[in-house]
């Protein structure tokens, strides 16, 4: 009997914990569908949204889809190993490793040739993309990090990528 109760308790808590792995936010506030966001507007309001999305498997998965659809992979590599553009899975962050920094870079682009995506993505899509970019270097919580890829396997999944402390040093 005691084992039974313990087992029930364990499976319940496991169930409760697993619920938090993924939540789909279909009804966000009006700012989530905003196009043409300036990075300044975004950085004033978005920290909480970015943190919420960075912990969520659904958001990371949607971000992965966008990473391919918006041609991020064409420059940054399919697994974020880089190419014409810098890698996203290593510890070097030229424009900052914070969620807000990544959001700003996606919205505004960079002086070295990355185009601005502010007029191509809604803010919610940017949050999803930031969540995925952050996961590439192994910084997503283990419950939410992608464990496998539906596509050709070109890298160890983010769940098995050892996170390194970010550095802004350029070689």
């Amino acid at each position: 009997m005691k084992h039974c109760v313990l087992g029930l308790f364990l499976s319940c808590s496991l169930l409760a914990a697993s619920c938090r792995r993924e939540r789909r936010w279909f009804r966000e506030g009006p700012e989530a569908s905003a196009l043409h966001s300036t990075p300044l507007q975004a950085s004033r309001n978005d920290q909480q949204n970015l943190e919420r999305y960075a912990k969520d498997a659904w958001a990371i998965g949607e971000g992965q889809r966008l990473f391919s659809q918006m041609n991020c992979s064409g420059c940054h590599g399919h697994g974020g190993g880089g190419g014409m553009a810098p890698p996203l899975m290593d510890s070097q962050w030229l424009y900052g490793s914070g969620l807000i920094d990544i959001e700003r870079t996606i919205l505004a682009g960079s002086a070295r040739g990355m185009p601005a995506f502010a007029d191509k993505l809604s803010r919610q899509q940017v949050w999803q993309l930031v969540a995925y970019v952050r996961s590439l270097s192994g910084h997503a919580p283990s419950a939410a990090a992608p464990t496998r890829d539906d596509h050709m396997s070109v890298r160890p999944p983010p769940s098995r990528t050892q996170p390194e402390p970010p550095s802004q040093q350029v070689d």
Partner: protein
């Protein structure tokens, strides 16, 4: 080569690739071959296998020499008739340029080549890519991961006087 077609969109300022790609060495494990074609007989006269892609141009002289450079930093002179290696010189960085020959102000013949590895296949080394992603550099990260152990970044002009 491994390839998977993927959905792609036209986004101004971004490359329109639509595929995940991973290049692999061919049979024999080498990535490059220098081939001398015999156009009259429509077949290869001789071939030289190279570990990395032969990204340099070739220079053929009237006296029967062929010069070319390799990405791991060897500048070579070959006998045009049979493909025998006559001479090689280790350059500081890999060679992807076009060797030239010219007559100097002193009337002597010189051969010049620029080193400095790069190009698409050189990206994993030059841009310090993370080769854990084998599709990086649009597919060259896997095949060229060892380039960083074979040569280094650089850029210099080498001029050789002929004896």
């Amino acid at each position: 080569m491994d390839e998977e077609g993927l959905e792609s969109n036209y986004v101004a300022g971004t490359p329109y690739v639509g595929a995940a790609v991973r290049y692999r060495p061919g049979p024999g494990g080498h990535l490059g071959v220098l081939t001398a074609w015999d156009p009259a007989r429509a077949r290869a006269r001789w071939t030289i296998e190279e570990r990395f892609p032969v990204w340099s141009g070739t220079l053929a002289t009237a006296s029967g020499l062929v010069f070319y450079g390799t990405m791991d930093g060897w500048f070579k002179a070959i006998d045009a008739n049979d493909g025998t290696l006559l001479w090689k010189f280790k350059t500081d960085s890999g060679v992807i340029s076009q060797p030239i020959t010219y007559r100097g102000p002193d009337g002597k013949q010189y051969v010049a080549v620029l080193d400095g590895v790069g190009g698409w296949a050189g990206t994993p080394l030059v841009a310090n890519l993370d080769t854990r992603d084998q599709s990086g550099a649009n597919g060259f990260a896997y095949a060229m991961a060892e380039l960083k152990n074979a040569t280094k970044k650089g850029g210099a002009v080498y001029v050789f006087g002929l004896p």
